[in-house]
Symmetry: C2
Subunit: 577 residues, 2 copies
């Protein structure tokens, strides 16, 4: 069993924490905010009516204005009906008239590490609540918290409360693969909205892969023109602008990934000459697992030896850097499969002249990484670029100041390898954070399907099964096993939805509320004030939050029978089983 470990806290936080501890028994069951604020004081569970003329006053800021407009409408019209009526007494105080926002620095851009802290004060009496935030983005977090404190018809809001809140981790993301199956722009916008409501702040958009190239680029129109799934299954420059602006309005960064040099089969529709092993059968008869041409169907790697490759890449990078103002740029570099490069005559010659596949990857990285850095981008790669068993580059090619590694294999061990080498890490461990796992296998005729009754089905062919439950995700401590110094290099985490067996029909329930589970652990942790994991309390609160998400139009899946929610505590157990 995991040993309880206190979250490290600042002195100010600690004193507030002690304050809140005094009232923790009252507080825990009734403050339905997800993710839970770091610290709050709510001496008496009470509420106050929201005036029908309620307004929000705030300084002018393009994106904060949009958020204020949105939240004002929401608190006045949502009339949320909790599954369990809060035990906060409605006081006789006059209705609250105003929420006043004060923002210290209106110029902070929405970049990694931006200050998201805020305080929210809703007095027991008096006409005005107040938010104080360092930045507009922190103010948006505060508005979300405020909106979750409102319920009922007529609308009322928790009162006599002071919240001081700020995230543990600065990078809190959802990765969506839009190549294997397509998602409409509305799906993406809904996902970003739900992310902001969970205080998640990075939409990692795995836009392209071997299966389709849905991104329409002005400099390279044929990549989507020939490599997308077709008209109606592409993202135009206007679509991207819509997504990026929508992200800014919601405090969510949009981090593009153009995966390369592997996972690029779709590029071959426009440029067959720059792609090795394109459109080949992924695992030729008679070959061994290690000799297959792709990690999964379909095939194709960019050829590092063809100068044309870099002409196309430069155009792609230029366009993407223009479309996505985000200073992080994800360049992929996962799953280079030896057989794919080896299938190409030019690579064969290179190898015959004593070149290695790792050198080939170094050629590629040396021809692309410096250009990205020259565009003021911090380059995110999948960990493979340094940690792959066979094909990897020398660390000296990737200075830690310009490079972030996203880990997905081997649980906390690879996180440790990354940060102990001095690199910053984003954690997407497939053991915990892969949302697609556990739903079987998509290969057409895998012989393992053909099992006799009584045979262990394993995970039905899912390499990363079983399904990652919300509890598995909630339980994971992404700095597990690290020293304090190493832990500082962990920027945060991302849950990931790969789309071999997902599309818009399952988008919402595959992501929610499991991404909510990660959202809370990365914002305020997974332990209560005594250092114990807070499953039972979190379950109750997540039920309410899931219910509100569904009411807000996000089809999050249920985690319990309604009966459990209506009968608090009755679906718990005191037994270890």
């Amino acid at each position: 069993m995991a040993k309880p470990k206190p979250i490290s806290l600042s002195p100010l936080t600690l004193s507030l924490l002690i304050l809140s501890l005094l009232f923790s028994s009252t507080v825990q069951s009734t403050l339905n905010v997800w993710p839970k604020p770091r610290t709050f004081s709510w001496p008496q569970p009470q509420a106050i009516l929201l005036s029908k003329n309620f307004t929000i006053s705030s300084p002018t800021h393009k994106h904060l204005d949009a958020a204020v407009t949105r939240y004002l409408r929401q608190v006045l019209t949502e009339h949320h009906r909790p599954l369990v009526p809060p035990d906060a007494n409605l006081t006789n105080s006059p209705p609250i008239q105003t929420l006043t926002l004060a923002v210290t620095d209106l110029t902070s851009p929405l970049h990694h590490g931006v200050n998201e802290s805020y305080t929210l004060s809703i007095p027991a009496e008096g006409a005005s609540a107040t938010i104080a935030a360092a930045t507009p983005w922190g103010a948006m977090r505060a508005l979300e918290t405020f909106s979750q404190l409102v319920w009922g018809d007529p609308a009322r809001v928790v009162s006599g409360i002071f919240i001081e809140d700020f995230p543990i981790f600065e990078h809190r993301g959802v990765m969506l693969d839009t190549s294997r199956n397509f998602y409409a722009v509305d799906d993406i916008l809904r996902t970003i909205r739900a992310m902001s409501e969970n205080k998640l702040n990075v939409f990692h958009w795995h836009i392209t892969d071997s299966h389709s190239f849905p991104l329409v680029l002005e400099s390279e129109p044929d990549l989507a023109g020939k490599g997308s799934y077709g008209a109606g299954m592409e993202y135009s420059p206007e679509d991207v602008k819509t997504v990026v602006e929508f992200g800014l309005d919601h405090g969510v960064r949009v981090l593009p990934e153009i995966d390369m040099p592997g996972h690029t089969g779709s590029w071959a529709e426009a440029y067959p000459e720059i792609v090795t092993c394109a459109n080949m059968f992924w695992w030729p008869a008679g070959s061994k697992l290690g000799d297959r041409l792709a990690s999964e169907p379909g095939t194709g790697h960019l050829n590092p030896l063809n100068p044309k490759t870099y002409q196309v890449i430069k155009n792609v990078i230029d366009d993407v850097a223009t479309m996505f103002p985000e200073p992080f740029y994800h360049a992929g570099a996962d799953e280079i499969i030896p057989g794919c490069w080896k299938a190409d005559p030019s690579v064969q010659t290179f190898l015959e002249n004593n070149g290695t596949l790792s050198q080939l990857l170094e050629v590629f990285v040396n021809s692309t990484f410096p250009y990205l850095v020259s565009l003021n981008r911090t380059v995110v790669y999948w960990e493979d670029v340094l940690l792959d068993a066979e094909i990897k580059v020398k660390p000296s090619l990737l200075p830690p100041e310009n490079t972030i590694l996203q880990t997905w294999n081997n649980g906390p061990n690879n996180t440790k390898k990354i940060v102990s080498s001095g690199y910053r890490a984003i954690v997407s461990s497939s053991d915990f954070y892969y949302l697609d796992c556990g739903h079987g296998n998509f290969i057409g005729n895998n012989s393992m399907y053909d099992l006799l009754p009584g045979t262990d089905p394993g995970n039905g062919g899912s390499w990363c099964g079983p399904f990652k439950t919300w509890q598995t995700i909630y339980n994971y401590d992404i700095t597990y096993g690290l020293t304090d110094e190493e832990a500082k290099l962990v920027l945060g985490g991302e849950v990931a939805l790969w789309s071999e067996q997902a599309d818009s029909t399952v988008l919402d329930p595959r992501i929610w509320p499991r991404a909510s589970a990660m959202a809370e652990t990365l914002w305020s942790g997974n332990r209560d004030e005594t250092g114990m994991k807070r499953y039972a309390e979190a379950t109750d609160r997540l039920n309410e939050w899931r219910h509100r998400m569904v009411a807000r139009g996000v089809g999050a899946e249920p985690i319990q029978p309604l009966w459990c929610i209506r009968n608090p505590g009755m679906c718990n157990t005191v037994h270890p089983f």
Copy 2:
């Protein structure tokens, strides 16, 4: 590995099969019908336009009329766009004008064992296609097949084809639990519609359980009045009539289950005096697993010793038998938990006087089963009533002619136990047919959630994990290990969706296309003409079928990247891995 075993076939079927084998290479990739017809002959892959004035002529029959109206609209307006355009050539023949239905026996009710066979002939030339069916219900199956042969704009239909079709198993169902979480009537109707489109014919409605009693009964209005989740989460008599009639219009029987004497906690809201251990904590501190009060939260069993129990039950049975004309009645009888009965003083006295819990169950069965039989019902029980390790009745109480057992434990072994004892069986093996499995555990604070990284997470707390993939379901032979005589007692199977962690947000993707996988195995099997499992061919065809289901408004989950579908064969493997 499972050894290929030919499906047993009639001589007529065999001769048609040999005919179709001659053309199997052409046929397999292009006849997109799910479930696959038993036999068909389609010498040349060709198609013919459907006239804009196309009509369907059929004999008058209340429910068949509804189906004809529905299918006529569908074939004229669906304009289905296949993912892979069929290679059937559109001939120059004049458009087809009419589909003529001939039905031998218009009086056959939609009961178990009704003849669902049909032939469908669409000539290569000539103005009229013909369906010949033994019953209106077979005609509905034929209409569905016809509708799946139509695509495009202008609409065209496969031509030069003769199909003779009939199911292997007569009972092909979906069970839905509407007690743990509620589903709107529209959800149920959509499910029944999708069932009929998959040639499934039994909607097993697990209406009530310990968590809620959503069924409004005229004789016992308080059961729902106090035991449902509330107004808006109930099924009125009018709702039931809607569902039953909708089922008839779609050739789907609606088989009600009122689970008892266990799983009845919700009855205690109206009648606490007839329910033992109601509203108790399900697993009191210090007690062992075997001493808990319920299989899961919440608690409650009907008390067999209280005469009032049977007064209420009689009213319930009378109302349910009136509302549901279906001759099968499911009376539950699963998971009697000793601790719940033992918690009651009257039961304690009974046991002190040398009574046993099995005798208590016999009291209950003797007081209810004969009454159901007197109402001309065949009683379906979960297997537990005879096979439970601890609490079960003597077989002599349940004559096989009036009793059917539904198996869910222990895979094919329990099927064997049931049929070798002379009972008919419905197969819902949790190893293969439970659609909810593999999504974790709903207990609030299970200590197993708190695992160190690197610890085997098992199935995340799902007792019946892993997730049952469509391939797992497709692979299962429900008569595995039986003699031919025993196999005759297997009526068919049902996939089951228990709703601890399901509601309308996930209904469609949890059921579809996995129920489609069972639908085909029960209709025409899972093997090709050579006796080999047909995974690759079935994958391609299921992709198309899933795509059509989504277009028809059923949110079935995807099973492959679109790329695989567009590139037939490229996502297969010749390798066992």
